[in-house]
Symmetry: D2
């Protein structure tokens, strides 16, 4: 399979997932590694660790955007620890660094990351994650729902490539 | 009415609200000003401007946490412009600065702010805003739904006072 | 004396100053309060606390931009605690929120804040603070040196007013 | 030469360097690439671009921590663009991500980064950069001065390895 040159996709999710959600996250990581896509996540445990472990198992590269200042806080499957010292505000960086985002399960931090991504026009693919709607005008949260890890990665790569072909964004 | 000493409550919502939502935001601001509560918001237009205008009409004080670096970008009803230069990452600061948060209507930025608040254990009161649920385990988003602006402010003050009576939080 | 309407000036300095530096900071705060200028600082101890105490003694208003998430971590002379959760990255917000900056003594955090201010074209007045020069081309750090607290506040107000009269900045 | 496993070193400097400073930056990049050290920088032009170009010429890997939201704003020699959307506040992340920091020439942004690094106990090696001192107590800015690019990289690797052998830092 031809690796996806330079494509980075974010995987988001909580640090204390159920076994089922952790397994899904690991399979998402495996699938990303298999396609040669670089994974970016928050660098810690739970969904983040499971996804990184999966990616390394299939030869992928992993970036961990950490809340703190010590790179050794990253889980053992992070190749490149980015130290922000920004605490949870680092979530913004995780989603912005992906050409698209896969949300797996998810706690409130994940909800916040989905909000950031959608507000930034970064496509979000959901696997067992939040669904949401707005009372006032019936708009939904515009998440693409995936059936399984492979479907999530297929969809994430497709929308990431579409976005990469679009004109450069002004905010640079 | 006795002013609520030093109580700060956040009002969040989009910059292009419907007329109905803008009216609700203005009434929330009026009600906060009437109770002597200081309002904090993102400092720009739409819901933020309507809420500040309401607060000033009833003698309240207003803080605007701006995305940019020029205080003159604040709407005219902001007393204290805080310049962050952080772009949308400033949303975290808006919700953290309130003892509680009132969400009025809302776009994706608002969704992100709700996620931050809930992840931080900051109570959120919703007026015509997002509702959300998590597929994986049926948890809801824990927003207190208000019937009208007065009810929203009543609820927001009550939970803010409860939070202020709780032990100091370790993260300082 | 006519209060300086809506003028906010930042005071920066370390959390463990010498007695002499703490006294200078308190006098800077007193002088700002006397002129009706609002003081913004990092909200914690040392120079920040001394300056806030001085400002409140002469009727001034004070804003504390905190590194953490609990407003109760502010020193007792902070009127308006802004909670950022950004750790030391909050220093950027302190200097950006002032129309000008007074540096009193100072540790490495202060050096970083001076760098941010100068990089942002925010004028810096120094009282017993860092001096610096660039090897490569002999440029200096462009800090206005003050002789005493009163002189520092005079200079800070003058440059702040100049800046406020300049055209609005594009970054908003 | 044995590559330095997983070692990341930051290179900081302005976007409009003199020809001499740009040449030094390129040589620093070449030397880092030759030793198998990953380079992290702000991802844009000037010193950042020269250092990345040098690193790629000798087979190194490069990370660019961008101020904006579009990865395509990175210079062409960045392998891994990290999008922060934080504007200049992203400087904190550049220095924190390095086990040590090499400052080449430098404008005010560089001064701010040096301040962050020193405040965070991250060792700084200087090549034609700022020198600084504190009036109040005669302390200097604790920068290790290098004679040339090779010396800068030798010193940076030595202090980075020392820091990596030290106990994990609590802030994680």
């Amino acid at each position: 399979m031809v690796p996806e040159d330079g494509l980075i996709i974010a995987v988001i999710g909580g640090s204390e997932p159920s076994v089922e959600v952790a397994t899904l996250a690991e399979q998402v990581g495996e699938e990303l590694g298999r396609r040669g896509v670089t994974l970016v996540c928050g660098g810690l445990g739970g969904v983040m660790e499971a996804a990184c472990r999966g990616a390394k198992a299939t030869g992928g590269a992993t970036i961990g955007v950490l809340p703190g200042s010590d790179p050794r806080a990253a889980n053992p499957w992070v190749d490149i620890p980015i130290c922000t010292g920004l605490s949870y505000a680092r979530n913004v960086i995780v989603v912005k660094t992906g050409w698209s985002v896969i949300a797996v399960g998810g706690a409130y931090g994940t909800l916040s990351e989905i909000g950031h991504a959608l507000g930034d026009d970064i496509p979000v693919i959901g696997l067992r994650t939040w669904s949401m709607s707005r009372d006032a005008d019936g708009l939904d949260g515009s998440i693409l729902v995936a059936n399984d890890p492979r479907d999530a990665v297929d969809k994430a790569i497709e929308v990431a490539k579409q976005r990469r072909r679009s004109p450069a964004e002004e905010s640079g």
